[in-house]
């Protein structure tokens, strides 16, 4: 009677615990791709095999400790070498390991087969943001953290997507095979989205491959998973999966906008237009180091507001933005930003926060300077 009660209590506790762990988001998610579901079911099968082995091994140990305790007069049998038992405890783990390796290898093979993709997206890690290039589509953009500073500094309440939200998510179609080509501009980052079962290093000088075919539309969030410097926790990944038709429309719109911007290089821009565009670019690219109010974070990130050396040297300012400063944290934006963006952001920096040089840098002049 007592034994049955103990067993029942243990059983209830066990089921309760395992259900709690599975339901509370402590477990890895099953995800929204065929591969992620395969990985999840492998993980669960192997987990339960380990649980069973644990119960058998520890059960035998604790039973023996209790049943043959010294106070009951148990005497240890001293023997050395038992070939049959040794063979059994070698062969059983071997069979279990091979049994787990076969389905795991099959899944690995699927994961590594990035061939015959419908769409190629280049994913580039930068300190501290992600850039996405839709290869062959002339569409590319930078995806920045969108969590307000007030939440980070603690003056506002944090919402559910705290540090997991961006200004522009990576938009992908459902039902199509998308190849991801991952690399980095500076240090090693890692592009990780648990629901897609992708966690791949982005290494400077190398291009890593991965792929996804998303089954369900939705928003999937992830983070950089390789410590990459001060703002490692501030460069989240957000993937927005939409129906293929919706994706095609979106892509066409982005292409159109990119073409418009390219055409904008030739025309004369007004100071107001440049300031507006410049503020936008500054906010997404420069503000994370030089701060939204241009106060910087000296000595690593110099102030731009009221920086007399900068304001006196217009050509030096342009050179710094275009070519970066070697040996410092300032990257070259020659290939990251287009001439409109570079001209606008420099115009903004030379006229905002009380900087009143009155300088206006035209995109056409910038384009000419860049092509030299």
């Amino acid at each position: 009677m007592r034994k049955r009660l103990v067993l029942m209590a243990a059983g209830t506790a066990f089921t309760g615990l395992s259900q709690g762990v599975l339901a509370n988001g402590w477990n890895m998610p099953a995800g929204v791709t065929d591969v992620s579901r395969e990985i999840h079911s492998l993980h669960m099968i192997i987990f339960w095999i380990c649980v069973a082995i644990g119960i058998v091994v520890f059960g035998a140990m604790f039973y023996s400790l209790y049943r043959y305790r010294r106070s009951q007069g148990a005497k240890a049998t001293q023997f050395h070498e038992h070939t049959t038992v040794e063979i059994i405890w070698t062969v059983i783990p071997l069979l279990i390991l091979v049994g787990m390796a076969v389905p795991a290898t099959a899944t690995l093979k699927t994961m590594y087969d990035a061939s015959e993709a419908d769409l190629d997206v280049m994913v580039t890690g930068q300190q501290w943001r992600w850039r996405y290039d839709y290869l062959g589509e002339e569409v590319s953009f930078i995806s920045n953290l969108a969590t307000p500073r007030a939440q980070i500094e603690g003056s506002d309440a944090k919402d559910d997507t705290y540090l997991l939200e961006v200004d522009e998510p990576l938009v992908l179609p459902t039902g199509r095979k998308v190849r991801l080509l991952l690399t980095s501009d500076d240090v090693i980052h890692s592009w990780w989205v648990p629901d897609l079962a992708v966690k791949q290093d982005a290494v400077p000088g190398f291009v890593n491959e991965n792929w996804v075919r998303i089954n369900e539309p939705g928003i999937y969030r992830g983070q950089c998973a390789e410590l990459c410097g001060r703002d490692h926790g501030f460069m989240p990944v957000v993937v927005k999966a939409v129906e293929p038709e919706q994706f095609d429309t979106w892509l066409a719109q982005r292409k159109e906008a990119a073409a418009q911007e390219a055409m904008g290089v030739d025309r004369e821009w007004s100071r107001e237009e440049l300031m507006e565009r410049g503020e936008q670019v500054y906010g997404t690219i420069c503000a994370s180091c030089h701060q939204p109010d241009g106060s910087g974070n000296p000595p690593t990130f110099p102030a731009l507001a009221g920086n007399q050396a900068l304001l006196d040297d217009r050509e030096g300012h342009i050179d710094t933005v275009v070519n970066g400063v070697s040996g410092s944290a300032m990257p070259a934006f020659r290939s990251t930003l287009n001439p409109v963006e570079i001209a606008a952001v420099i115009t903004y920096e030379r006229n905002a926060w009380g900087n009143e040089t009155g300088d206006v840098i035209q995109p056409s002049a910038m384009a000419e300077q860049l092509s030299e």
Partner: protein
């Protein structure tokens, strides 16, 4: 020779009878064990490579 191969196989597997171990140390010389060990190590690597390339097909 056959005894050397059996002992090397037992070493690969990790289980050996105490009596055989004593016999090897009493009668055997190190040379044959080393040569057979290296050769069978190579055979094992080739076998695993074959299985892997078969699985990758």
């Amino acid at each position: 020779m056959w005894n050397v191969i059996k002992s090397v196989l037992a070493a690969f597997f990790g289980v050996q009878k105490e009596a055989r171990r004593r016999e090897d140390f009493a009668k055997g010389r190190a040379g044959p064990f080393i040569v057979v060990g290296v050769v069978m190590g190579i055979v094992l690597v080739v076998l695993i490579a074959l299985v892997a390339s078969l699985a990758a097909k």
